[in-house]
């Protein structure tokens, strides 16, 4: 055998070299990402550690673990208080480092975001995966996913400067909408089943997303028009006063519901996208089998599709929760940032992420305040890390299950 031509040989070696280079670069990139993640964690731990160890007295730190989380007695108050007031303006004062309100605010904001986002996102996912016409779905899905790209600061700005004042002025109208819209949509569904068949064919279920829009507009208008009557008849003409005297709830214009609406809007696309993928990934043979055995669409959905896709739906909600807890700008602009610890949906709150954003630039480097803000950052880091890991593990399980059920990978 003669040698292969030298140029071919060279080319082969070149290609192999390039291959190796690419592999090395990709590996380095992967390792780099992991290293950066670890470095962030290590940095946070190193910065936070001097708060507690060695013994606080040595480092001059003036907090203990208990003082951070339990109510403290401060001068001028009758009872121990949870207070976050980390700066002082005179030497006699002592800064107040109660972090419980911040944790409370973070969880409250995230909970309201999920209360609003999860039903809507899951409903949308179920509808678009199982009922929506293919053509409409191919438009709606990318649009919803594009919504995710909307910067938080824009949503926060709209929520804080447009939505919050509007809802404050039209409180009764907003409440009427909440009360009217869900039954209104149900009525539309009931009416649809009663329509004569030819008319029903003209309004196919797959296009409900479009033909419901005029009906929704009618409902919204009706709610706004009815609101003054509603307020006069049931609430003595002053819903705010009624809330206060009857329920003891003070209405703050930037409150948990506003934050929930804005942040719900922000996390909805990611929950929707993941849940939709999980639902439309359920092997078609399952649904077909169920319907062949005589199950209705509703039964197929509840007894076959949802149980099969439940891990995916769960991980979608988890990812949404992770985003809601870490979201900064929306809470910063729409929550009022008052470090309150109340259950009322009409009170504001202060989240850890928002506190970091507004206070870190002004906190003295290496001081107690600075380290406490980094402790909050560490808590957020650990929380989102755990939640995302959990969601990912569940999703991998789901993929394996689909493969076992004989669907597409």
């Amino acid at each position: 055998m003669s040698d292969p031509s030298p140029s071919l040989h060279l080319r082969q070696r070149l290609r192999r070299g390039r291959d190796r280079l690419a592999t090395a670069l990709i590996t380095a990139g992967g390792i780099g990402v992991v290293a950066a993640l670890l470095a962030i964690g290590v940095f946070l731990v190193v910065e936070v550690l001097p708060l507690f160890w060695p013994a606080p007295a040595d480092t001059g730190a003036d907090v203990s673990w208990q003082a951070l989380w339990l109510p403290q007695s401060y001068e001028g108050y009758d009872a121990p208080q949870h207070r976050w007031q980390p700066t002082v303006t005179s030497a006699e004062e002592r800064p107040q480092y109660g972090m419980t309100p911040l944790v409370w605010g973070t969880l409250k904001a995230a909970a309201w975001a999920l209360v609003i986002a999860v039903p809507l996102a899951l409903g949308a996912a179920i509808h678009s995966a199982l009922f929506m016409s293919r053509r409409l779905r191919s438009r709606i899905k990318p649009t919803l996913e594009l919504m995710e790209a909307l910067p938080g600061v824009v949503i926060g700005f709209i929520a804080g400067l447009v939505l919050a004042p509007w809802v404050e002025r039209h409180l009764a109208g907003a409440l009427a909408m909440v009360v009217l819209l869900p039954p209104g949509v149900l009525i539309a569904g009931w009416g649809w089943t009663r329509l004569p068949a030819p008319l029903r064919r003209g309004l196919p279920l797959g296009w409900a997303g479009l033909w419901l829009i005029p009906w929704l507009l009618v409902l919204v208008t009706a709610a706004l028009a009815l609101a003054p009557w509603l307020e006069a008849g049931w609430f003595g003409g002053d819903l705010r006063g009624w809330l206060e005297t009857r329920l003891g709830l003070e209405y703050a214009s930037r409150n948990a519901v506003i934050v929930g609406l804005a942040m719900g809007f922000a996390v909805m696309p990611s929950i929707y996208a993941l849940a939709e993928d999980a639902l439309s990934g359920v092997p078609a043979s399952l649904a077909e089998g169920a319907q062949a055995l005589g199950a209705t669409r509703w039964q197929t959905l509840w007894q076959v599709m949802l149980p099969a896709a439940s891990p995916g739906v769960f991980s979608a909600v988890m990812i949404g929760a992770g985003r809601a807890v870490g979201e900064t700008m929306i809470v910063l602009m729409a929550s009022g940032n008052a470090a309150l610890m109340t259950l009322s949906p009409f009170d504001g709150m202060r989240s850890m992420a928002a506190s970091i954003a507004i206070e870190l630039p002004e906190a003295a480097l290496g001081g107690t305040h600075y380290r406490l803000l980094l402790l909050a950052a560490l808590a957020l880091f650990v929380f989102t890390f755990l939640v995302n890991t959990l969601a990912e593990v569940v999703r991998v399980r789901l993929r394996r299950r689909y493969r076992r059920l004989g669907g597409a990978p």
Partner: protein, 314 residues
């Protein structure tokens, strides 16, 4: 060939002209001025920087507006020679500087400013006593308010009714600190107070709700809100008018400073000298008024010009 050579020569000529132009126009004032400090002063500093470049094309101002608290460390470390601050240096900050350099920093008053208590433009409230301000904004009421004021009725107002919605700046900002010092006698803020990341946001929030009351920098006033008259313990009423703020009578007025790192006995270097000259000139003080701050009294301007050895006639 010949033509191309001509074109090239012409370009060369233009290039030479461009290169020599700055030299022809150059004066002794050339360089980059770095400043680190107050964000309240940021707009003003930038405008002065532009005017300085108009006067002396060779000078640029580079500003890092990260809060008054960032000025003293930067001056001490020598990363900047100009430190704009919306408050006077604390004794501790001054002490650190002296310990490090062996001489105190030079403080220049550059403008006056004030905090205003604002309400919605439709709110009938005219003014507040200082003890009432304390009773509204504070939980501990160090300034002597006996009873917390939480509802508009308690101020004798029928419309709006219901609770007061409080708005203010975020903890750790200079505005927050000044208000807490002067209006709350260093007491604690009410917990139920919305903290906004800027004075403009406070004003916007108050302008959106008739029940709201808040405090903000005077230069952020808009048509949507009204600044309240403040009444001191002796019963003197002060509106936040320019004249009241200039004289320092208005209880929440403050002076804005520019701190310089200048060894004693040395003259100001060229760019710094030009900058300070501009600030203390009628043109510089006009900019102060334009941006909603209050210009310094003539006597203060002259005293400072003399102290720094600047030309008396601008």
């Amino acid at each position: 060939m010949l033509r191309r050579g001509k074109v090239r020569r012409r370009w060369l000529g233009v290039l030479m002209l461009v290169l020599t132009m700055p030299m022809a126009m150059a004066d002794e004032v050339v360089g980059t001025l770095g400043a680190v400090g107050s964000d309240t002063l940021a707009g003003l500093m930038l405008r002065w920087g532009e005017q300085l470049t108009d006067r002396h094309p060779g000078v640029r101002l580079q500003l890092q507006a990260s809060g008054s608290a960032s000025a003293p460390p930067a001056l001490m470390a020598g990363t900047t020679r100009l430190g704009p601050m919306s408050r006077a240096m604390s004794d501790a900050e001054r002490g650190d500087f002296v310990e490090h350099h062996g001489y105190p920093p030079v403080a220049i008053e550059v403008a006056r400013d004030a905090l205003v208590v604002v309400v919605h433009r439709h709110n009938p409230l005219e003014g507040l006593r200082l003890t009432e301000v304390d009773a509204i904004f504070s939980d501990t009421r160090r300034c002597g308010g006996e009873q917390a004021i939480t509802r508009w009725r308690e101020l004798g107002i029928e419309r709006p009714d219901g609770p007061l919605a409080l708005h203010g700046r975020n903890a750790a900002s200079g505005t927050y600190g000044l208000f807490r010092q002067r209006a709350l006698c260093n007491g604690d803020f009410r917990v139920r107070l919305d903290e906004h990341p800027g004075s403009a946001a406070v004003v916007a929030a108050v302008a959106a709700s008739p029940r709201a009351i808040g405090y903000a920098g005077r230069n952020h006033l808009t048509a949507g809100v009204r600044a309240l008259t403040l009444v001191d313990a002796e019963g003197n009423a002060y509106r936040p008018d320019p004249e009241r703020v200039r004289q320092g009578d208005y209880p929440l007025s403050r002076t804005l400073y520019l701190y310089l790192n200048l060894p004693p006995g040395q003259a100001l270097p060229g760019p710094e000298r030009a900058f300070v000259e501009l600030i203390l000139s009628p043109e510089g003080q006009e900019t102060v008024t334009e941006l909603g701050f209050v210009a310094l009294p003539q006597a203060t301007l002259e005293r400072q010009r003399r102290r720094l050895g600047l030309n008396d006639a601008p």
